[in-house]
Amino acid sequence: MTTLSRRALLSGSGALIVSVSLRSQAQTLPPAPPDTAILPGSLQQAPYLDAWIRIDGSGAITVFTGKAELGQGIKTALLQIAAEELSVRVDHPRLVTADTALTANEGYTAGSHSLQDSGTAIRFAAAQVRQVLLNEAATIFQQPAGQLHLDDGAVVAPDGRRLNYGALVPPGILHVVAQPETQLKAPGAYTVVSTNVPRVDIPAKATGGQAFVQDMRLPGMLHARVVRPPHPGARLAALDTSAVAVMPGVTQVVQDGSFVAVVARQEFQAIKAMRALEAGARWQAAAGTLPPQADIFAHLASLPAQDISVLNRGTPPSGTAKMLSARYTRPYQMHGSIGPSCAVAQLRDGMMTIWTHSQGVYPDRAAIAELLNMPPAQVHCIHVEGSGCYGHNGADDAAADAALIARAMPGQPVRLQWMREQENGWEPLGPAMVSQVHASLDGHGHIVDWNYAVWSNTHSTRPGNAGSLLAGRLLAQPFEPPSPRPIPLPEGGGDRNSIPGYDLPSARVVYHFIPQMPLRVSAMRALGGYMNVFSIESFMDELASAAGADPVAFRLAHLDDDRAKAVVKRAAEGFGWGAKPPAGHGYGFGFARYKNLAAYCAVAAELAVEHETGRTRLVRAVAAVDAGQVVNPDGLRNQVEGAILQSTSWTLYESATFDASGVTSLDWASYPIMRFDAVPDSVEVHVIDRPGMPFLGAGECGQGPAAAAVANAVAHATGQRLRDLPLTRQKVKAAIGI
């Protein structure tokens, strides 16, 4: 093994010293609880090596992660990391993902944290397991560990003798707390990490294998559908089940307060019975209290807010050359999973097992246990892939629904899937937001003062307790939703990415957190980062224009972080920034470091505007991303490409509609998203690898920069600045005055 850095050398020698000193202390002092706070990644929460890596007597390796595959490719990336440090082929280890009976509690698979938390834990745990294997073999071979090497699942001595890993793992040897220092493999020696290992999950998805929770078929499994109230707040007054009782295949109606479900042998029988139950239900409507959709932003601003000072730096200079201000808005938007939420549940021998595409099996278990009034130890949540969620969609609620239904029919496995209108009507939306910014330029076109305010509801109403589940609010004895709280920085919620990544000597940022939620909202990919980066990066272009500067040059003049500059330059070069666009086309640029602490991403966009209709199309996009040490370059590109297309869809088309009672955009006609005619000709993602640097979460890093690049390209193409999302063709047409 070669060690490249001084840090790696130091950490290598450090490991020896620490283990010796611990051993000598142990003779005189009682064992102290391990200080896990200094361990990297999720080793802090689960410090034992065998929480992450197990090796059986045959040499079979199992890797455990508390994170879930959401379509982001995490299974493949984590296997690469483990295989690399353990010097085995990538198809050697088996991977177990989020399961409350088997894996560490890593909270939610969210916030672009999987590689940072779980990837880091697995990397360090695997490297320490590697050291354990070497030390064991050293004893057997009577050779110094430093003279041994690992090769495809065996430790090899200089004379060629080989010991399979299975021969080196007596029981309990990996049930040890991770050491604070780890001898990591040097990035220069990588053969698996930093290569384009094909995703392990795609072949089944492309050939009809069982790939999703929707595809599960347990023996004797029945199909369920829920009947939802006509809108939030309505209570069930009466339920006529006579029509349903005689329908073929129907086995059960489950009712508790306003929670209504029906179970049948065949799935379509359940759907027909659901429709019949809908017809037989009489609801006591709650008075519609939502404001007209056009007034939502004024309404939000009128609600009581908690004002949080996010940044207060420097003092405004006197005598500035130019002052600009702008206000931006973002409507409620949907996660819009292609597959409506689904879960399978079974109550057997007092144990409730739920197969769910929840992003957080442990928090969901806590919430469902409370809902069912069962001890958490008797509720077992197993993650099985679902349709992409992009945040807190209906997954947790569907899991709770399935559990309530399964409880009513012990022994019986039940599969529940929501209907499209239920997903759209009841999923927690991405919150509506308002931002207001004013800034000043000096005579040299430099920003000398910056003031930014953002208004938003919370960006997380995720479970953890029963009141955060839809079903919890519908029961005869309902659970109260918990009080919404802001997510503190540095991650942030509504204020995520509200601090510009630019060098601004005088800057103030205020987050007006609005507890009261007119519509149910929660986490949607990038949280407030989408809106804040859209706002900040739109305004950077407005400032650049006022300063008479090129947008990219203006950004570079205000950046002092070399990695930030590098992605901006790479995207601009790759795009051919500086050229003149074809007639009717515009160029736009956007940049941010996600959460100001994760991946750096810059996007340049070319957008065409059809003058007669206002219709826009992203023609091409070029992005550059720095996510630290890259595990799977193609996986990273896939994520950023997807982020660009999804964010473009949000930015150009998407706005959930509602009337006084609730959401009305219940299908893809009323909530249009990007279709193939609007897909760009090309999307190019340049990856800047940083060998040996920490993993920086990248799954959400493109949402904000892509939105800004698109908006800036609309402005460039039309000469008109649009500040209210989405930038629909009607708005574009009105702006260009045709």
């Binding site: 492309a206 050939t207 799935e267 597959g339």
Partner: protein, 158 residues
């Protein structure tokens, strides 16, 4: 009633108004066609009926007597994928993959009638199908790649 699925006749015990989707998934245990909207708006449920792409979520089985139904499963397997399946794997044209089966079947319908589609023809054919993860650029590449493979194979067979 009798349904001909992937070249085999199946006697299926469902109500005649049952959409094909539920017969395929529930009665035949096929995973490919997916429930997405039940409205023919997203294409996750796409299969072939007599060689043409159809939304299985809105096609009742009573309309399918004597028709040839083809699903994703008949195109190949994980060990031996068909040209489109192989192309989707090679291009890594998926993220969550929930739309993948419908995408492949929509493309299969196109390539059966036109193995030299232009990019514009591919886009037009794929228009009914939605992908929420944003993998469409890869999907277009995969369809183009599969078309080239199928074309080459057809030419080799003269």
């Amino acid at each position: 009633m009798i349904l001909n699925v992937n070249g085999q006749e199946h006697d299926i015990d469902v109500d005649p108004d049952t959409p094909l989707l539920y017969a395929l998934r529930g009665e035949l245990g096929l995973n490919g066609a997916k429930y997405g909207c039940g409205l023919g708006q997203c294409g996750a449920c796409t299969v072939l009926v007599d060689g043409r792409a159809a939304f299985s979520c809105v096609t009742p089985v009573m309309a399918l007597a004597g028709k040839q139904i083809v699903t994703l499963e008949s195109l190949g397997s994980a060990d031996n994928p068909g040209p489109l399946q192989h192309a989707f794997i090679q291009e890594q044209a998926a993220q969550c993959g929930y739309c993948t089966a419908g995408m492949i079947m929509r493309a299969e319908a196109l390539l059966r009638r036109n193995n030299q589609p232009s990019e514009a023809e591919i886009r037009a054919a794929m228009q009914p199908n939605l992908c929420r993860c944003g993998t469409q650029v890869r999907i277009l590449r995969a369809v183009g790649r599969a078309a080239a493979v199928i074309r080459t194979a057809a030419e080799a067979h003269g």
